[in-house]
């Protein structure tokens, strides 16, 4: 199911060139696809986190845990429903993209580490690879949605520089290397949940008629 979703997102990107035989996707349809994608990504991150906890942290003490610093803490994100609904669409979209961009490299390196360590079974190794690929694909998908929205006039085209969001995070690149594996998984689980939530809220604000 994931592969079909990925290929369909790729197909969506190729359709914008106006090739014949392309299926015209509605905005709601696009939103559904990226939301499904993000849900799956969050599910995998949750599985990986639980597995890591199981193997490496048998004594689970939620209350006395050491505070974690995620490298995405600098990105301002709405932390409540009202905040997420009040924030401007463009801002919300920008937050989503920022998050997706910020995680691409750390996840790739995480997968490289996992592939080398023998303690992780094949299940975990495959999931980490899937996770890193998904982050990349999801970012492209969300970019497609943004382009569509701009085309439809749903959002104004002030986000022209979203094509290269790496520019925004140039200064933050090295921070993620300070995180250990467990913190990385914890932080990514949190951020993937944010991404899924923001996408859903965005969809229900823009195209609410298709089941919210």
């Amino acid at each position: 199911a994931l592969c079909s979703r990925l290929s369909s997102i790729r197909a969506a990107s190729s359709c914008t060139n106006g090739q014949t035989g392309c299926h015209f996707l509605s905005l709601a349809n696009l939103f559904d696809r990226v939301i499904q994608h993000s849900a799956r990504m969050h599910g995998i991150s949750n599985d990986l986190h639980s597995e890591f906890e199981l193997y490496f942290l048998p004594s689970k003490n939620q209350i006395g845990r050491v505070s974690r610093n995620c490298h995405t803490s600098t990105i301002l994100t709405p932390n409540g429903k009202e905040n997420a609904q009040r924030i401007a669409r463009e801002e919300l979209t920008e937050v989503i993209l920022k998050l997706l961009v910020a995680w691409r490299e750390p996840l790739w390196h995480f997968h490289q580490n996992m592939a080398q360590h023998r303690e992780f079974n094949n299940f975990s190794s495959n999931k980490s690879l899937e996770m890193s690929e998904m982050v990349h694909e999801l970012r492209r998908g969300v970019q497609k949605v943004v382009e569509k929205m701009q085309m439809l006039g749903v959002i104004n085209s002030s986000l022209g520089n979203l094509g290269s969001p790496e520019a925004l995070l140039a200064s933050d690149r090295a921070e993620w290397r300070l995180m250990n594996d467990y913190d990385l998984l914890y932080c990514f689980r949190r951020d993937s949940n944010k991404i899924q939530n923001y996408l859903k809220i965005l969809k229900c604000r823009i195209v609410p008629e298709h089941g919210c």
Partner: protein
């Protein structure tokens, strides 16, 4: 002085005792819960407080906020709790809580850290769980519906509610609010419960149990029994039909006719009474015997019967040369005249075939009781003897194998005895050899197959169906056979003739039925 010292000592001791007991401990065990990912509450457990009234206060900081805030609501969530409303709730943010206990003994505080409210998200169970048994074809199923918990906002996309169902088994079915459960069987009672999970938080408690019973599928049962009935009926009908077709044979098998003495004028009761005169009278009746002179005119001949070269009968009957041997059917019609005939028979080979004998025997049982008028006789063994036709004669010539012999034609037969009728063909039951070796027999004669002292077997013309399986052993062995003088014979199910060794019945009970 000593008294003063002891008094002060006891006083200081008691005072110190009082103060040792009281201490204040910090609160323990901190837990929080968020029902809908918009608000959350936290509870703490107070430590020992020395029995004094103690005040608890909660102060918290968030990871982004530098300032320290106090709990906005100590009341809504109950005792020793703090309720954070929407304004004060930040998801994905870290909280550092400090609970301070204060009483007359002093202060005690404990710090608790909440890394993410998401970890404490646990919704209420789903509501309005309804279960309906849907009996539509092809098989019934449980239609289960429910609603999301009341506080959770599912319309804005802020939360993703996932439901799990258990109908005696766990079925994780995603985010819909209905489920069709097909794994049901008629006649069974099922329990249904639903619970939900908010994002990656904890599962809620299970909703109340709903019961549903699948009705028994009587229609299916009915069809099943109809099917079984039809299938068992077909072979039954076939068996009945076969039995009907072959009822005669079946009757032969199952209910072989047991001959009873059916002698005209003879009464079973009469026999029982035991008076010999009555019996004799009944048996003999109006017997008109030919005058003695007529008897003496004729040469007395023996009717010798044998199935081998040995003339056993000659030995046994040597002393009784004058006696005639007649073949008298079991059912003797006493109105008959018995006529002696010249018979010299060379009985060499009587072949026996078991099967044909059986068949011949079986013929006998099928005959109805009839009189036996013998109309005419023919000659046998080259001797020309004219035999006067009698009103009723009941003997038969024995055919000699292989020469041509004459046969008497016996028309009628008693029910227990056979015989021969007019248009009989050569018996089918004979072996091929036997048939070939013998001269062709005129149609209306029967053939004596086998004779011993007791019995004469006559072949009937047509092949009989029957199952007279009983084989009298003593019939097959001449050598062992003892001629029974006083007319003892054995009725073998009425299939066989009786040969009365001493001739006709003229005195006493002619035969006994064994």
């Amino acid at each position: 002085l000593s008294i003063y010292l002891s008094l002060s000592l006891s006083l200081s001791l008691s005072l110190s005792l009082i103060y040792i007991i009281r201490t204040l401990h910090s609160p323990r065990k901190f837990d929080c819960r968020s029902r809908e990912k918009e608000t959350f509450s936290c509870w703490w457990e107070p430590g020992s407080d020395g029995g004094l009234p103690t005040e608890y206060r909660l102060f918290y900081t968030q990871e982004r906020l530098r300032e320290v805030r106090e709990c906005p609501d100590y009341v809504s969530a109950g005792a020793n709790s703090c309720f954070f409303d929407k304004k004060h709730t930040s998801i994905w943010a870290e909280y550092t809580m400090t609970v301070v206990a204060t009483n007359a003994l002093g202060n005690a505080s404990e710090e608790f850290r909440i890394t993410d409210v998401m970890e404490y998200v646990k919704p209420d169970p789903p509501v309005n769980v309804t279960v309906v048994v849907n009996s539509s074809a092809p098989s019934p199923f449980l239609e289960i519906r429910w609603k999301s918990p009341p506080d959770v906002d599912v319309r804005t996309g802020w939360v993703t509610l996932k439901y799990e169902l258990r109908v005696k088994q766990n079925d994780n079915i995603g985010s819909e609010t209905f489920f069709n459960f097909y794994n049901v069987y008629p006649g069974l009672l099922y329990m249904v419960q639903v619970r939900c999970k908010l994002d990656h938080g904890k599962w809620s408690e299970w909703s109340n149990t709903i019961f549903a019973e699948i009705p028994k599928n009587h229609q299916l049962e009915k069809y099943f029994w109809i099917f079984v009935f039809v299938f068992s009926l077909v072979p039954f009908l076939m068996a009945m039909y076969i039995v009907l077709l072959k009822r005669n044979a079946v009757k032969q098998c199952l209910l072989p006719p047991v001959p009873g003495p059916k002698i005209k004028g003879l009464n079973a009761h009469l026999l029982k009474s035991g008076r010999s005169e009555d019996v004799v009278n009944a048996l003999m009746g109006n017997q008109n015997f030919p005058p003695v002179a007529a008897w003496t005119e004729q040469v007395e001949d023996f009717l010798l019967v044998s199935d081998s070269d040995e003339w056993l009968l000659t030995d046994s009957f040597a002393s009784e040369k004058n006696k005639d041997i007649f073949i008298i059917p079991a059912g003797l019609h006493l109105g008959l005249e018995i006529q002696r005939r010249d018979l010299s028979v060379d009985l060499n080979t009587w072949e026996k075939t078991d099967d044909s004998k059986e068949e011949a025997k079986s013929n006998f049982s099928n005959m109805e009781p009839i009189n036996l008028p013998v109309e005419k006789h023919e000659f046998l063994n080259g001797e020309e003897k004219s035999i006067q036709p009698l009103a009723s004669t009941s003997y038969v010539d024995i055919q000699q194998h292989p020469t041509l012999t004459d046969y008497s034609r016996v028309k009628e037969v008693n029910d227990n005895t056979i015989l021969i009728l007019n248009e009989e063909e050569i018996p089918h039951g004979l072996d091929a050899e036997e048939v070939k070796s013998e001269v062709s027999v005129p149609d209306d004669y029967s053939r004596v197959k086998e004779v011993n002292s007791d019995v004469v077997f006559l072949e009937k013309g047509d092949s009989a169906d029957g199952c007279c399986k009983k084989k009298e052993d003593h019939y097959t062995d001449w050598t062992n056979q003892k001629p029974i003088m006083p007319l003892e014979s054995e009725l073998s199910k009425g299939f066989c003739l009786k040969m009365i060794a001493s001739g006709y019945v003229d005195s006493g009970p002619a035969f006994s039925v064994k």
